[in-house]
Symmetry: D2
Amino acid sequence: WEGEFFPGIPKIKYEGPKSKNPLSFKWYNAEEEILGKKMKDWFRFSVAFWHTFRGTGADPFGVGTKVWPWEDVDLWCFHDRDIAPEGKTIEESNANLDEVVALAKELQGTKIHPLWGTAQLFLQPRYIITFGAYALVTHYLGGENYVFWGGREGYQTLLNTDMEKELNHLARFMEAAVAYKKKIKFNGTLLLEPKPQEPTKHQYDWDAATCANFLRKYGLIGEFKLNIECNHATLSGHSCHHELETARINGMLGNVDANTGDPQTGWDTDQFMMDVSEATLVMLSVIKNGGLAPGGFNFDAKLRRESTDVEDLFIAHIAGMDTLARGLRNAAKLIEDGSLGELVRKRYSSFDSELGALIEAGKADFEMLEKKTIEWGEPRVPSAKQELAEMIFQAAL
Amino acid sequence: WEGEFFPGIPKIKYEGPKSKNPLSFKWYNAEEEILGKKMKDWFRFSVAFWHTFRGTGADPFGVGTKVWPWEDVDLWCFHDRDIAPEGKTIEESNANLDEVVALAKELQGTKIHPLWGTAQLFLQPRYIITFGAYALVTHYLGGENYVFWGGREGYQTLLNTDMEKELNHLARFMEAAVAYKKKIKFNGTLLLEPKPQEPTKHQYDWDAATCANFLRKYGLIGEFKLNIECNHATLSGHSCHHELETARINGMLGNVDANTGDPQTGWDTDQFMMDVSEATLVMLSVIKNGGLAPGGFNFDAKLRRESTDVEDLFIAHIAGMDTLARGLRNAAKLIEDGSLGELVRKRYSSFDSELGALIEAGKADFEMLEKKTIEWGEPRVPSAKQELAEMIFQAAL
Amino acid sequence: WEGEFFPGIPKIKYEGPKSKNPLSFKWYNAEEEILGKKMKDWFRFSVAFWHTFRGTGADPFGVGTKVWPWEDVDLWCFHDRDIAPEGKTIEESNANLDEVVALAKELQGTKIHPLWGTAQLFLQPRYIITFGAYALVTHYLGGENYVFWGGREGYQTLLNTDMEKELNHLARFMEAAVAYKKKIKFNGTLLLEPKPQEPTKHQYDWDAATCANFLRKYGLIGEFKLNIECNHATLSGHSCHHELETARINGMLGNVDANTGDPQTGWDTDQFMMDVSEATLVMLSVIKNGGLAPGGFNFDAKLRRESTDVEDLFIAHIAGMDTLARGLRNAAKLIEDGSLGELVRKRYSSFDSELGALIEAGKADFEMLEKKTIEWGEPRVPSAKQELAEMIFQAAL
Amino acid sequence: WEGEFFPGIPKIKYEGPKSKNPLSFKWYNAEEEILGKKMKDWFRFSVAFWHTFRGTGADPFGVGTKVWPWEDVDLWCFHDRDIAPEGKTIEESNANLDEVVALAKELQGTKIHPLWGTAQLFLQPRYIITFGAYALVTHYLGGENYVFWGGREGYQTLLNTDMEKELNHLARFMEAAVAYKKKIKFNGTLLLEPKPQEPTKHQYDWDAATCANFLRKYGLIGEFKLNIECNHATLSGHSCHHELETARINGMLGNVDANTGDPQTGWDTDQFMMDVSEATLVMLSVIKNGGLAPGGFNFDAKLRRESTDVEDLFIAHIAGMDTLARGLRNAAKLIEDGSLGELVRKRYSSFDSELGALIEAGKADFEMLEKKTIEWGEPRVPSAKQELAEMIFQAAL
């Protein structure tokens, strides 16, 4: 399997911000170090098999990830039914999968391996099997993560639904998955992907906080991380930055689905992230998290239906990667400049006082606080300086 | 203080559904039993001091809850600054409060007491004191609950905010509140009120699941319940029914703010609930919860600005109470009829099998499931019967 | 073609509100007169071929509208590609269509004919032909309307779009359609169907006012009416009632797509209308419009994916028709009772004065008004009585 | 009146993009020419009296627009009740206004004059007078525009509203305003300001297309232009760019309220525009419109409540002006580079053919088109190249 899948598309190189060549990187320079780490290690970009290679519908490009024409993408991710068609019975489906997996293993060679795998199946009883099979496959291919994405775990109406029972069942399934993972000695991270709606009216993994509550309630909190998708974040009423921070604060930031939505549409448009401002906020969170490994960035993004040139697929990936790379450079600039961090530090500086330290340590009770407050009189209200923060942020873009 | 505050407004009586008299109840009949409990005990209605008596701006009606002209409202609720004006210093404010509280105690007599109290103050240092003072007041007045409503606990932009630090501080505050409650032997329930936004861009108590996650993370889960406001629910992208069910499933359904919003406006309109369909769903949850006591229903609802007759205040409360009462009657009808419950039971009946029981008990691992699935072949997909469920529901309205 | 398409489904009869039989009408009684007109004439229900007969995907039920098993549906509507598969060339497609149309003509017999036809094609050059062909077909089948539904007339991003040019082209197309209609002597109504988004980010026929502006700008205002879809209305930020009223006031209310959406989802869910309150508002507008003929009501609604029983299709249509029928009964009750109308009349009664009449006639200039205002002093602000209006409305449900 | 209103705030100067001084312009250089016009003439910035000088509530800064401390703002705008308090009667209010207006005239000197004036009053009868008085004032002060902003022209519920009557009354009012304008020989532009909601559930001037339809229906289309506010645009479900383009295409783009909202909040946050990407899109429209004169840009934007330093007011205005200035520079870059324009031109190039020209001229009927289409066979679908357009756009930021 040595054919060239994208004739006419050259190797994509870094040419710097002045380049006018659409088929070049202007900001992403894989080997360049930013804040002490190579860009490729900050991002660990992976290509989504389903959108990238199968997304154009009429012209599926097949399985050949090896021919991906630019350097430094050595991760990919897959849905089960993307890479192997379903058979009439489970045995047939499994056989189809085995064959493709063997091929994938061979094509991967030693350099490429999956960032993660997942299963694209909806009916509950089969889904359980699917996890087993695909976790095994992901394991076999050297995958580093396994994503449980919220296919249809939700309801269309509460009228016909016993939500408590369904959540209990979901917990049983996740417990069994954890047990199975340990049994097969799969050391990758298990990831949940928060999503508020679509196709159901209400998914059970609505947003990061909802997922965290589910995992805490059922004693699963240490066993899973989250795969934050920006478009899912905005559909749930939060900014992508908010969801990343919520995941991070809860110790659960594991991976980023680097797409974006339209702020005025109420469904998942899965567009490539092209907004430098959003990308900078994303990277500020990722840097605070110390990176994402063993997770990374994948593109759950697809071309617009109207983008019918093969070239468009490359332009989209290049622009998406460049946008994030520019975001990383901007975030580094903000951190190195330090004035935004200083503004935030000052805002909370009253907690650096002796009393503040007592409060933070949980040692200040209401009597002590009342006494202090009466001593001090009316508090001074320091400005939150939002406009200055915005000015500093925009200057770094 | 014996004056009549609403001249011309008669005592409001139950006259049944055929009555055309706007100043009568058509559905709410306090002493009538529904599903084995008096209507007044299902609802435990309380009047919101701030909207009801102070909401009209130019004509504040003062503190006289005693003159509330209809029967069977023997609960009220208050914000601190509604009942006592702020002084120049804390000592002055406290003196103002002391005076009003003494008056309120006297006016209450032995029949009326607060459903809950709360504090309407925003700046963090003072808020702490406030809780102390008002928890004491609520306690002194025999209040059964204390609500922490999300005034400004949130952010306008993450650029100037350390969300992790703020959540830690909030947890310290809640821990201190729990300690203080125990110290003063206040046996009432502490309530958080989920709210997604307004006035801040993002509140920390976004929705029920977010509140539950916060409480679980900081080990406070048993100490608080939730006060679900329907308009807050819809602003967070959930139906009111969803939020009530989420609170219930997490063991945290404590009180209902029985208002409603407009499905097409993005801010808190705090309208009186007038939709029988929504009220029926609300009551289905409340019944499943076995009622709300020691919580109840309060009206965080206000007249439209254009409603300038005194009479409108009464019409609004009557219609709001009647809507919920009609919802209770409908919910009882659905439960007694049983066909909706049966539809749901059937949908999950596969879990009543031997294997289903093993799954629910967490004793079915992936190997067992795979074996069973292969034995069975393709699963039959039973219809979820959403349209039938909707037909049954609508027929009961 | 005489087979029975829905074995086991009996003829659907009116059994009245007490009936518990899901396969009966409780509110829709075709021959019963309401406000001087038979129910069937108020509604002129039509069945949507695409959702009803082809919507279940795996089991397309074919073309047999004749076997529709209940009485009084003698209208249907169709998309071109639903009834005839596309061929490899236009000639082939046209041949396919010709064949199916001949069959449809035969099956229709003398009783049934299309409420409207439309074309489901997206690419601009072909669309033009399509209109020609399908307008001819609709004409041939005796259709009373032709709908231009907003397939893809919009943009995904303004960056690659010349909106002015596209609107000019659209106007040219509509002008040509009007000319063609006259040429073939098709006397049906041309209908535009407002839709804000989906699949594009922004459609050119966003809502009723946007369509009216487009038609006025290009001098086409008398040539088209609107087909208002409730789910499209809510997606554009308006209530269905608002869109109906806007269409009516502009003299353009021609047809109703009687579906509904979920107030918390941002895409077109095309559910059957099950909300009696919404249906009552819809019928208030339709009655004010004096009915919709030659338009009517069609169900652009589909079963939920999880509704897999054949029976569900019938339950959904019955419940949708019953909901509207109940809405009609409620609207009639409100009109006959008169108190809501009286409330509105009073609100504007100041315009019944001599000056009011001058203002309404456009004969009061600013000088006259200033003089009068100074004479009168501060205006009294009458209550808008929203809560009373809501109470009256809910009592009628 | 010669006092210094903002002690400690120096004159704001242009220092270029490398400056770290928050109290300097980095992008706005009033006298610099961009695309053949000075920056100050592209923008015609005006300061909103109500937010800027009265917005902080506790510390109103009075009327002294003259002391505005940076160069080149020689336009201001006002609401009536901002500059003159209401009296007990109309005569008193008028006297208050007269006094302030005389002062304003004197303070203005010869250099400053209003960009526009408007009236902040809600009750209909008084509003009419108000327009008379304030139009006169605006005229007297040399104002170039008069804005009718959508205060409360809308409804809270259709249940108590006769929308048709209200729109007729609104039209009568606008007709009288046009007559009065002509009578007093006020040559300024009359502006409507589209706004979808707030405070009412639904305003009559929902968006640009709705305003255009209203004006066309009542024969007022040539008499008014639109004042587009970006935050109003997004609340109505459109991008600001869309509303500007809609106004422009309808020949009605008159002024820009240069604020912004938060994409995840459903109310008017009136924030200063800080997003360079949005500003670039705004300026692309303004340039296409050949500028806005006699209109311009005003800041209907206010500080966040938490921004309590006097300095914040300056930072906000500087950042808002700089963001637009940077947007202008980017837009100029895109236009001079030409590749985005070329991409769009190519997309419609088929209309440059002989047939395309016939279509554009309205001379191609359906028969001709069918014949051509059959001759040509299946159309080729050229790529819309959205991702390339986004790449080019982002590169210019």
